[in-house]
């Protein structure tokens, strides 16, 4: 019980501060407000609809519980015989329509803003494989595969004997994270090589399916430097639960330095400038 109240306390704290919870916490009850303007909008939309549902729920369930308490045969209630009331029926058809319109307006605005991938300053191509991600910094030769961190990969095996709770960021950590700059509109082009995957980092406020033969688009602009974790969200085979995503947002200058260093470290430009080689066969 105390732990539950801790959880509630944390929920309240998160409601007060938008910077909280980029990554899942124990006893977390609510969606993360995230780290981008879009994710804040999504979070607010979520809270508005949730609030409306709670109010409607209070009214409907209140009326139900009141009737169940008041109109019992054991309390001598006598049933009325009416079965129509046109006024009431019109009210409870029209009022919900108005509420829905009220919900649809902000949702439409947010959706239109999230769909606009124009004016991006850089593009990252994401390719899903069974069961890892490839990131390519479009316009450079930097591209690499990102897969489940080695310690978690060993610990997750059936009968490994390892206490997984002792592993930091178990199943939410990768060997090579995606590094991006803060304060930059980044366009993602997302596809897959084998089956359908879905690229999801809750702190960015969206997920987008990675589909073989299709190129989907999405964008983000992260304000705060930080580490943001996510997972594949579309069932993609036996290791679907074991292909996490880690995005590290760094200040622009640090990112540029990192990118330059990566480019310098490339062994042979001509070998990697081609379309990515097929993913290596997994150790299964």
């Amino acid at each position: 019980m105390r732990r539950l109240s801790t959880g509630l306390g944390m929920l309240l704290a998160a409601l007060a501060s938008t910077a909280a919870w980029a990554n899942p916490e124990r006893w977390q009850l609510n969606m993360t407000p995230g780290a981008t303007a879009s994710s804040h909008e999504v979070y607010q939309l979520h809270m508005i609809i949730f609030g409306i549902c709670c109010v409607i729920g209070l009214i409907v369930f209140g009326a139900m519980f009141y009737s169940m308490w008041k109109f019992r045969k054991s309390k001598g209630a006598v049933a009325a015989t009416w079965s129509h009331n046109t006024t009431a029926e019109i009210i409870w058809t029209v009022v919900p329509i108005l509420i829905l319109v009220g919900m649809a307006i902000p949702a439409t605005g947010t959706l239109i803003r999230m769909a606009d991938t124009g004016d991006a300053e850089m593009t990252v191509k994401i390719t899903g494989y069974q069961w890892k991600w490839r990131y390519e910094y479009v316009g450079t030769d930097v591209n690499f595969i990102s897969s489940l961190s080695r310690d978690a990969d060993a610990a997750r095996r059936l009968g490994s004997g390892v206490d997984v709770t002792a592993i930091e960021n178990y199943l939410l950590d990768v060997d090579k994270p995606l590094i991006v700059p803060t304060g930059t509109k980044i366009r993602f082009v997302i596809t897959a090589d084998d089956v359908i995957h879905s690229w999801w980092v809750p702190a960015l406020g969206w997920k987008q399916d990675a589909i073989p033969g299709f190129i989907n688009e999405a964008w983000t602009q992260i304000d705060e430097p930080g580490t943001y974790r996510g997972q594949c969200a579309e069932l993609c085979g036996k290791d679907h639960g074991f292909m996490p995503i880690v995005v590290i947002a760094k200040p622009k200058a640090e990112f540029e330095a990192w990118l330059a260093q990566q480019q310098a470290a490339l062994p042979d430009v001509s070998a990697t400038a081609q379309t990515p080689a097929p993913a290596p066969i997994t150790k299964s």
Partner: protein, 547 residues
């Protein structure tokens, strides 16, 4: 009147004794016997599917893999869904339709009794076929196991399965044929076999919801059959309907599948609306509020179900216009659904209620289904759905509408009509225990899953980060509690149906019961209404509908 009916029963029982066990149950053309077969089949499947759910919840009890390999875990999630949807919920509703529709509209039997037999007896073979690869693997270590690509069978993943793809697809074809024949029978019975004077707009709401459901089935089961046939040819005959490398389109499968899948959701909930609309007036001793509004709301929901399918696919990368259209259309469904909930509450308003087990389940249905409806409305909002999609929030949502929605209504219906079917009252105290234990545990089971989803736990994963550990533990405890509580249900049914234990039921069974089925004896005669009954408007469950 009762004497007549009892006399009939006696006659018919005499006939029954001349039938061998084989002739009665395997070659049955009687709507009640076939209804019983459907319901028992559904109960067996409910426990098989429930066992799979418990394997899933046991593996998710604590972080780390303890019990099963990820591949087997995926087989469990896939088969749990297929067995529960096609094996438990749909056959249960068809069983209820078989039992009740001829009695409710004043017909002697279903319109096409031989086809009725056929549509049931396809099912055990279909499910043997569906389960065979899994049984071979799990119990005999043969083959690679059952389908593991999710019940939605999305290619290319579903095509990575081995020969189980063929087993699954043929099983789905057979279930589809069975469902279509069942639906045809319901339509023919309702349109052609009603007693004179039983106008369409005087039928019980259960008949109306089933009539609309039957049209939905006929419209969408062929679509599913088409989609899986294309999967079959893609897998075994080198076509490329859904294979991007061959010029096909994997997203097209999702469009076709959900064009079936969304009406399918309503196929599983509209009959539940009908059941609850029968039960609440009975125990409220007050006519159903807004009978015609109920019928029109059902029809609107059925219509809207055809234009909302892509809300299952908001993250596949549709054009903005498409996302907006499907968001608005989906939100609209809240209006007729809201009308129904308000009508049930108004039926309870100024009534005179008692809370026997069927009423408890019906009230539980209205409250918990509405919670599922709220999360459904939240899921309709596209930007928010970008976060909810494919997380445990969705899992919580559809279990609230399917378990505490569809399954609760089936249980309510069972308690409501069991005395009529068997002639024996069930054990009321045990029934109440079943309700309260189920309701407590089902919320312990599914409510924390909302939090898990919002915190970022994807669905269909066998293992998770320690951040998700606490609510998964609670959820698993709820799952085992809910599973065990269902043993009470099985015992109550066995007591009434097989052991004949309990007080003798009267013909009317409930004080407030109205409608043709209650004018027959308990248990009813072999042929329900050999001579069409005379319809008296004020004796109908929803009162006089002329004003």
């Amino acid at each position: 009147m009762a004497e007549h009916a009892t006399h009939d029963t006696h006659d018919e029982h005499h006939d029954d004794h001349q039938q061998s066990f084989f002739m009665r149950w395997f070659c049955s053309t009687n709507h009640k016997d076939i209804g019983t077969l459907y319901l028992l089949f559904s109960l067996v499947m409910f426990f098989i599917g429930g066992f799979m759910a418990l394997v899933i919840r046991a593996e998710l009890f604590v972080p780390g893999l303890q019990l099963v390999h990820p591949e087997f875990f995926n087989q469990m999630t896939t088969m749990h869904a297929l067995v529960m949807i096609f094996g438990a919920v749909m056959p249960a509703f068809v069983g209820l339709a078989n039992w009740m529709i001829p009695m409710m509209v004043g017909a002697p039997d279903m319109a096409l009794p031989r086809m009725n037999n056929w549509s049931f007896w396809i099912l055990p073979f279909a499910f043997t076929m569906l389960l065979l690869p899994l049984i071979q693997y799990a119990f005999f270590g043969v083959g690679a196991g059952g389908p593991a690509g999710g019940w939605t069978l999305y290619p290319p993943l579903s095509l990575q399965g081995g020969n189980n793809v063929a087993f699954t697809i043929f099983a789905i074809h057979m279930m589809g044929v069975s469902s279509i024949m069942g639906a045809i029978n319901v339509i023919a019975t309702i349109l052609n076999m009603r007693a004179p004077g039983m106008d369409l707009l005087k039928m019980p709401v259960f008949c109306w919801t089933w009539l609309i459901t039957a049209f939905l089935l006929i419209a969408v089961m062929p679509v599913l059959a088409g989609a899986v046939t294309m999967l079959l040819t893609d897998k075994f005959f080198l076509t490329s309907f859904f294979n991007a490398a061959g010029g096909g389109d994997p997203v097209m499968f999702q469009h076709i599948f959900w064009f079936f899948g969304h009406p399918e959701v309503y196929i599983m909930i509209l009959p539940a609306f009908g059941i609850v609309s029968e039960i609440i007036p009975t125990f409220a001793r007050k006519p159903l509020f807004g009978y015609q509004a109920m019928v029109y709301a059902t029809a609107s929901i059925a219509f809207l179900s055809f234009i909302v399918w892509a809300h299952h696919m908001f993250t596949v990368g549709m054009p903005l216009g498409g996302e907006l259209f499907f968001m608005y259309a989906t939100m609209l469904i809240a209006v007729p659904t809201g009308v129904k909930v308000f009508n049930w509450v108004s039926t309870m308003w100024k009534s005179s209620m008692t809370f026997e087990t069927p009423m408890l389940f019906a009230v539980g249905f209205v409250i918990l289904f509405t919670i599922g409806g709220f999360s459904g409305l939240m899921l309709a909002i596209v930007p928010a759905d970008f976060q909810y999609h494919d997380t445990y929030f969705v899992v919580a949502h559809f279990h609230y509408v399917l378990v505490t929605g569809a399954i609760y209504s089936i249980m309510a219906a069972t308690y409501y009509w069991l005395p009529k079917w068997t002639g024996v009252m069930y054990n009321e105290a045990l029934g109440k225990w079943h309700f309260w234990l189920s309701t407590i545990f089902v919320n312990v089971l599914f409510f924390p899953q909302h939090f898990l989803g919002l915190a970022g736990m994807p669905r269909r994963i066998p293992d998770y980060n320690v951040a998700f550990a606490d609510f998964n533990l609670i959820s698993s405890i709820g799952a085992f509690g809910f599973g065990l509580a269902q043993l009470i249900f099985a015992w109550i049914v066995i007591q009434c149906a097989f052991l004949g234990r309990g007080a003798k039921a009267t013909d009317h069974v409930w004080e407030g019961s109205k409608g043709l089925e209650w004018t027959l004896s308990s248990p009813p005669p072999h042929h329900s209404f050999s001579t069409p009954p005379v319809i008296n408007d004020k004796d109908l469950a929803h009162g006089d509908v002329t004003h």
